[in-house]
């Protein structure tokens, strides 16, 4: 059981550092995982150099989806948006440090999908964003 629910995941799930909602914000996006009803919203403030000045996530769902979101937000603060656009699923899996089956992978990648749809300014979050 310890392999999937590593301490880092439980810790970020129970005590997230970046849960919240920024107002005003420059970027906002939200989406659901229809399979389990997980929900993630991300808000971002950018600076004049097109970098992430600050960011937060909000929502509800399983430990994997919420911990991934917290880790992801932590990892993008201070990063240029262009770099954020390049993030892919390996980034999330590296931070989580676990292997996931296809169902749980969707939970883990929900926040990245939401983030990229927001940063790219898309109308809809597609799974292609996190392939």
């Amino acid at each position: 059981m310890d392999d999937l629910y590593r301490e880092v995941i439980i810790e970020h799930y129970k005590n997230p550092g970046y849960r919240g909602h920024l107002d005003p914000h420059d970027i906002q996006f939200e989406d659901n995982n229809p399979l389990c009803g997980d929900h993630i919203e991300i808000t971002i403030q950018t600076d004049e150099n097109e970098k992430v000045a600050d960011a937060r996530f909000d929502g509800h769902g399983c430990a994997i989806s919420q911990a991934s979101a917290d880790l992801l937000i932590e990892s993008i603060i201070g990063k240029p948006l262009d770099e954020v656009k390049q993030l892919n699923k390996d980034h999330i899996l590296e931070m989580l440090g676990i292997e996931l089956g296809p169902v749980r992978l969707k939970c883990a990648l929900l926040s990245l999908k939401v983030l990229k749809a927001g940063v790219y300014g898309l109308g809809e979050a597609s799974d292609d964003l996190v392939e």
Binding site: M1, L4, C36, G37, G61, C62, I64, R104, C107
Partner: protein, 408 residues
């Protein structure tokens, strides 16, 4: 009535496996799909090894054998649900396709804008979406029998709805989330008194209870082989003969015709009229074997045993602080225990239990509106069949305590 569960388990090869080294499989997800006894696996194997051929029309030995096996299974299934004739047993892919068949063929021929179809708030998506689609296409109206706080259908609200002269009442015999066994006979009788047709989603009832279509006097009844020890890929639509005969065909193609001209066709007689193209032959053979298997154990014995097990499971689960159970008490339900645990997401519950080899399901179980009604996005669901034991329930309970520890 008691079952020799020890010897029943030996008939299911999957229980010999471990989910990881040293961790035996505890399968509590039969509501999603049941495991398969060796008799079913062997019957399909034998068919492919000895008798594989396309059915009907062929005159060679294999074609005759295959046809006899395919039609023989239909006879067995008809007997199992006490259908007056095997001609009224239409093979489909599953419950979902059976309901869609009624929605496409019967409903499109018989319903017009403004006609009312009554469903319930506890339906599986397969008995909602086909009617949403017909509503969009035809402008039919939909109303829903409400579900009470303790997970029962509100029959007095139903009686009020019946005053609006519905054309069809379509409802689940047993809820796959709450486990509620609905009083199908009474619902059907009231529908008929109001002049409505009835469709029963029997996906969860036929596998677990003795279902007699003539005693129910039901007009259409749908179920799937894979939830009753049979293979995936095959299900049944039972229908009253005059209704099926009057209905236009569903899919067009080979096998469903009597005669084809360049510009026209004449539909075949029942049941073939609704079975276009090469069907799931091995699966039908497996379905027949599944029905034989369940009959040999005895449906009454299976129901009684499941009831005992469910009673025990509910008792043990409700003892756990933070567990909230959904659905009525054991008297009114089948072998399903859906619950939430504190604020732990059901996915996390299921994933941690899986580490102990315990397979339960987490999510909305294809009944999103029902979950919305109870104000929760998802539940964890343990479900039981003839091969489960009280020891497995105990392991489930221990597993839930472990989840609490980890997330506590």
């Amino acid at each position: 009535m008691s079952l020799d569960v020890g010897s029943i388990r030996k008939q299911f090869p999957i229980f010999q496996r471990e989910t990881s080294p040293g961790v035996p499989l505890i399968y509590l997800d039969s509501t999603a799909t049941s495991q398969k006894p060796i008799a079913v696996i062997e019957a399909m194997n034998e068919y492919y090894r000895r008798s594989n051929a396309n059915i009907h029309r062929g005159v060679h030995t294999l074609a005759e054998e295959a046809t006899a096996m395919y039609e023989g299974a239909r006879e067995k299934i008809a007997k199992f649900i006490n259908a007056p004739s095997a001609k009224q047993v239409i093979y489909t892919r599953n419950t979902t396709e059976s309901i869609n068949l009624v929605a496409y063929s019967w409903a499109r021929a018989n319903l017009k804008a403004g006609d009312l179809v009554i469903l319930t708030e506890m339906e599986h998506h397969s008995n909602l979406v086909p009617w949403h689609m017909l509503q969009a296409e035809r402008g039919i109206e939909l109303e829903f029998i409400p579900v009470t706080e303790d997970g029962l259908l509100d029959l007095s609200a139903y009686k009020t709805l019946l005053n609006r002269t519905p054309k069809l009442v379509s409802f689940t015999h047993m809820s796959n989330v709450l486990g509620t066994i609905n009083p199908a006979g009474e619902i059907i009788r009231l529908a008929h008194e109001a002049g409505a047709m009835t469709l029963v989603d029997a996906a969860q009832s036929v596998p677990h209870l003795k279902v007699d279509v003539q005693a129910l006097d039901v007009d259409f009844l749908a179920f799937s082989a894979h939830k009753m020890c049979g293979p995936t890929g095959i299900g049944v639509l039972y229908g009253k003969k005059d209704l099926l005969e009057a209905m236009p065909p569903f899919l067009g193609g080979g096998d469903m015709i009597k005669e084809v001209k360049l510009r026209s066709f004449r539909a075949n007689s029942l049941p073939h009229k609704f079975e276009a193209g090469t069907p799931a032959i091995a699966e039908a053979v497996g379905f027949g074997a599944a029905v034989d298997y369940l009959s040999s154990v005895g449906m009454d014995a299976i129901s009684a045993y499941e009831h005992e097990l469910t009673e025990y499971a509910l008792e043990r689960l409700i003892e756990i602080p933070g567990v909230r159970l959904f659905g009525p008490d054991a008297e009114k339900k089948g072998g399903v225990a859906s619950f939430v645990l504190d604020s732990v997401h059901p996915h996390d519950v299921a994933q941690i239990l899986d580490k102990g080899g315990i397979a339960i399901r987490a999510g909305h179980h294809c009944a999103q509106p029902l979950h919305e009604k109870f104000g929760i996005p998802a539940t964890s669901r343990a479900s039981f069949y003839l091969y489960n034991t009280k020891e497995e329930v105990d392991l489930l309970v221990n597993g839930i305590y472990k989840v609490k520890e980890l997330f506590g």
